[in-house]
């Protein structure tokens, strides 16, 4: 830092009464500047795992690391899905999930609005618990059903599936017209 005693006004520098000192630039400031300039070549020489790496490579590495740490879980079987059907606690949990995520399209009573009626005997993408589970998990993008597998936890999907099946035959008022193919009540059981 400069000491006040160093101040020497520049000769011949006066503008509307403003003078300028001939002080040197602070050392620490020059040093800071030099460090940031040196950082440029250093950055280009950095090994890719701590610095200079392309976006695409970085993403590939992130996905590979994730996949290595999280081997894909095997798909649910009909038996595994079936145990949740009719279970009171699953249905109760499922209702909470349903109210938070599904009512915008399927209505609070499941009677259907943007999405189809879930209470009647007609199903577009299959009526078995496993088929319903799959529809919820993977969605039907072409029809506007989002894949909930990324949004909901596995146990939430099990329980909302159980809740949807529990709505069957509830006959809400003013439901959406039937869509899909007729599935007997028997077929809705595992």
């Amino acid at each position: 830092m400069t000491r006040a005693g160093d101040d020497r006004p520049m000769m011949d520098h006066e503008y509307d009464g403003i003078q300028e000192y001939d002080n040197p630039m602070p050392r620490w400031w020059l040093l800071l500047f030099a460090v940031t300039i040196v950082f440029v070549p250093v950055y280009y020489l950095l090994p890719s795992d701590i610095g200079n790496i392309t976006k695409a490579d970085m993403y590939t590495q992130e996905i590979a690391a994730f996949n290595a740490a999280h081997p894909e879980a095997p798909k649910m079987t009909a038996e595994q899905v079936g145990v949740f059907v009719g279970k009171a606690d699953a249905i109760a949990d499922g209702k909470v999930v349903f109210m938070a995520n599904c009512v915008a399209c399927h209505r609070a009573d499941g009677g259907g609005q943007i999405g189809p009626n879930l209470t009647d005997d007609f199903w577009i993408h299959g009526a078995t618990p496993l088929a319903i589970h799959t529809t919820i998990t993977e969605g039907v993008l072409a029809k506007g059903m989002p894949p909930w597998g990324k949004m909901l936890k596995p146990e939430q999907i099990n329980s909302v599936m159980a809740y949807v099946i529990s709505l069957h035959g509830s006959h809400p008022t003013n439901p959406k017209e039937p869509q899909g193919i007729l599935a007997t009540a028997e077929a809705a059981k595992p």
């Binding site: 400069t2 006040a4 101040d7 006004p9 520049m10 000769m11 011949d12 520098h13 503008y15 509307d16 009464g17 403003i18 003078q19 300028e20 000192y21 001939d22 002080n23 040197p24 630039m25 602070p26 400031w29 020059l30 800071l32 500047f33 940031t36 300039i37 950082f39 440029v40 950055y43 200079n52 392309t54 976006k55 695409a56 970085m58 993403y59 992130e62 996905i63 994730f66 740490a69 999280h70 938070a100 995520n101 915008a104 399209c105 609005q113 943007i114 999405g115 993008l141 072409a142 029809k143 506007g144 989002p146 990324k150 949004m151 909901l152 936890k153 596995p154 959406k176």
Partner: protein
């Protein structure tokens, strides 16, 4: 010694005009800011289609940057330039033209932005006729300014003038090249650039608007008003020189840091980061030169509100110019980008640096311009403390909002799935902080109102007629070098002796050309490769132009300002691809004139929105977002269901796009009928799904068509709303 002296006077009337305009637009701009802060905290504050967030947010930024800060800069430049050059402005008529022209532009902005006329480029929203007006007024300002330099009576240009020169030249270049567009109507145009290139140009402009509209002119003001108010010499002439030139040269490169991890090529992103890091020292040079000028005058800060404002302003400048380079580091940026952190960062600069520099300057000017004493020093103190508290509340709450949301977006649970997959959860968490921001903004605005009252009361105490002070100064004769001691030593000694720079300071044309060269050469280093290297934007065969109806829908998306809250750019992080889908590729936006990548995610990204929800979902969502998502803070758009779609202009829009090189093929002659066909299809689909009937002529249909198209071209899924036989 020459005996003959010119007698002349300074034009202070024009300074008074700009001063009042500063105050007026300051209050307006901040009032709009407060309203949009309220809208984020509670969507009920969206007051119909003309006063909803998407249209008012650009009005706020434009009003504060170009109307408030702009008029403040002109106030200071018109006052100080005349005195630093010992000359009246070149032409009083041009001064008045500049003043009234600028105010007319502001009024035009205040009318057209709420009406939805926008180019959708941040801080360059104004449509083409207004852009032309800005260019004309700016050139008039430049003629007036350089004309004053030409007839100056001070041989050398002071550092404040250097900064003014750099600002005037660079803003002209930035404004013209970012706004190049082809008109498609009286208040509608399409950018000549598309996608990656448009994004690059926009942030070359956007970043340097901050640099050359909000930084360099204010540094110029600092170099005049701070030593004046402190009555102390400037700390270091050498520092002025080095930080001026490095700032001007380095700033231009930094724009790409606004586009880290987007579809911008990696090399540009890296350059943007490295040059931003190198900007710390040049920026801090200004702060140091300001603060160290106060050495020996610190006791004055205690009882002089003017200096208090300056000290806090320069400190805020130092903080935000340290933070800026930190934010430009890619890994830091990956957390901060799209969040409120950026909003906090700019408000440190805007409220602290620009706002407080302006306040200090006007408190210092008022007694001089109104030839009386300041109405109340005590009120000025109150303004300072209330506004400082306002800044603290604003900035701390919005920093925490930004960091909170950024961390929530990227959080995974132990099974590797998003911890907060529902976007609304991350929004709800911010609500308390949004209310604290409202409180902070209210305090700052209160301070502003006290400020205006104080200045108006000072003005009320003015004399019946203003005295006109006659100044005497010798005209510039031929230059006789002073008897300087010869420089001892070699080239290095001559270089550090800086006499070469002293020579530039008395050659304004040379100086200005050097500034222009620094700015333009630095720009071309990035612009040329961005436009010329094909591999920067690999094309994707399946990416096709928007259908005519989708194009109009896109224009409605622009009109409503959707891009202010929704990005369309998924970054290559697993937490983004899990939430939104495959990350965005450069080739996907080649037909996007203008690009709509966005800079903030108040709502979720929409780059892959197409096919996610049925058409009816969008209709209901636009009509009343809260009927779909109970806690949503999105404004409602019921007018889209009632307003007729403007089919008549569709052909013109398509033709302009075709002129820009978008391969429209068939659509060139039958855009309108194609749009009708697609609209009929969508309206029928909505009705069949149980939605309202008769939407085929309504705006909502076009918007739905656009939303359903977003991001589907590189996926196997066909949008539900595309007519058979292609896009």
């Amino acid at each position: 010694m020459e005996a003959r002296l010119d007698s002349f006077s300074y034009d202070d009337a024009i300074v008074r005009k700009f001063l009042f305009a500063t105050l007026l637009w300051g209050v307006v701009g901040m009032l709009v800011g407060l309203l949009i802060a309220l809208q984020l905290a509670n969507p009920a504050f969206n007051l119909g289609q003309y006063l909803s967030f998407g249209r008012l947010r650009p009005l706020h930024t434009n009003a504060v940057i170009f109307a408030f800060a702009g008029n403040a800069v002109f106030t200071g430049i018109y006052y100080s330039t005349q005195r630093l050059l010992k000359a009246r402005m070149f032409s009083d008529a041009l001064s008045r033209f500049h003043f009234w022209g600028w105010q007319a532009i502001i009024v035009a902005a205040a009318i057209t932005l709420p009406l939805g006329y926008t180019q959708a480029k941040e801080y360059a929203e104004l449509e083409w006729p207004i852009d032309i007006a800005i260019a004309v007024v700016w050139v008039v300002f430049a003629i007036n300014f350089f004309g004053t330099i030409a007839k100056r009576r001070e041989r050398h240009l002071y550092v404040a003038i250097w900064f003014y020169i750099a600002s005037i030249i660079t803003v002209a270049v930035l404004h013209i090249f970012n706004n190049l567009s082809i008109p498609a109507g009286p208040l509608k145009s399409y950018s000549i650039y598309a996608g990656v290139q448009d994004a690059f140009m926009q942030w070359w402009y956007g970043h340097n608007a901050v640099a050359f509209f909000l930084t360099t002119p204010f540094l110029g003001l600092m170099y005049y008003f701070m030593p004046k108010a402190a009555e102390r010499p400037v700390f270091s002439y050498k520092l002025s020189i080095l930080h001026f030139w490095t700032l001007v040269f380095l700033y231009i490169w930094a724009g790409p840091h606004h586009l880290h991890y987007t579809a911008l090529p990696d090399w540009a992103s890296t350059l943007g980061m490295l040059f931003s890091v190198m900007l710390i020292a040049p920026s801090w040079g200004g702060m140091i030169n300001g603060l160290l000028t106060l050495r020996g005058a610190w006791q004055k800060v205690v009882d002089e509100p003017v200096l208090k404002f300056f000290v806090l302003a320069v400190t805020a400048y130092g903080m935000s110019t340290f933070e800026g380079p930190m934010l430009s580091i890619k890994s830091v940026n990956s957390l901060a980008h799209y969040t409120d952190w950026i909003i906090a960062h700019v408000h440190t600069g805007a409220l602290g640096w620009n706002g407080f520099m302006t306040a200090g300057m006007i408190y210092w000017l008022a007694p001089r311009l109104f030839q009386t004493s300041l109405y109340s020093k005590k009120l000025a103190e109150w303004h300072f403390w209330v506004a400082t508290l306002g800044i603290l509340l604003y900035v701390t709450s919005i920093y925490s909002a930004g960091i909170t949301q950024g961390l929530m977006w990227r959080a995974f649970d132990e099974t590797g799935r998003l911890q907060f997959p529902d976007f609304i959860e991350t929004t709800m968490r911010l609500m308390p902080m949004y209310w604290v921001r409202v409180a902070g903004g209210t305090l700052y605005l209160s301070g502003m109102i006290v400020f205006v009252y104080n200045i108006v009361m000072t003005w009320a105490g003015r004399p019946k007629t203003y005295d006109v002070f006659v100044v005497q100064a010798a005209p510039l004769g031929t230059y006789v070098p002073p008897q300087a001691a010869p420089v001892v030593g070699g080239a290095w000694a001559r270089f550090t002796g800086l006499l070469w720079h002293r020579t530039w300071e008395r050659l304004p044309l040379t100086f200005s050309v050097l500034v222009a060269v620094a700015v333009i050469v630095a720009s071309l280093f990035e612009i040329l490769p961005t436009f010329l290297i094909k591999s920067n934007v690999p094309t994707i065969a399946s990416v096709k132009p928007y259908t005519p109806l989708e194009l109009v829908g896109r224009d409605l998306y622009i009109r409503e300002g959707c891009f202010n809250c929704h990005s369309q750019m998924i970054r290559p992080f697993r937490h983004e691809t899990e939430r939104y889908g495959e990350y965005s590729k450069p080739g996907e936006s080649i037909y996007d004139h203008p690009f709509l990548w966005g800079s903030r995610r108040i709502g979720p990204d929409l780059a892959r929105e197409g096919g996610k929800y049925p058409a009816l979902w969008h209709v209901r969502h636009m009509q009343d977002p809260r009927s779909i998502t109970a806690k949503s803070i999105m404004p409602p758009y019921p007018h889209l269901l009632t307003q007729d779609l403007d089919f008549a202009t569709i052909q013109k829009r398509v033709d302009v796009m075709a002129m820009l090189g978008v391969p429209y093929g068939d659509a060139i002659n039958k855009a309108e009928s194609m749009a009708h066909a697609q609209a009929d299809l969508i309206a029928a689909d909505i009705e069949k799904a149980g939605g309202p009937a008769g939407l085929k002529d309504k705006e909502i249909t076009a918007l739905v068509a656009y939303l359903e198209r977003l991001g589907v071209d590189i996926r196997a899924v066909k949008p539900v709303t595309t007519p058979p036989g292609g896009n």
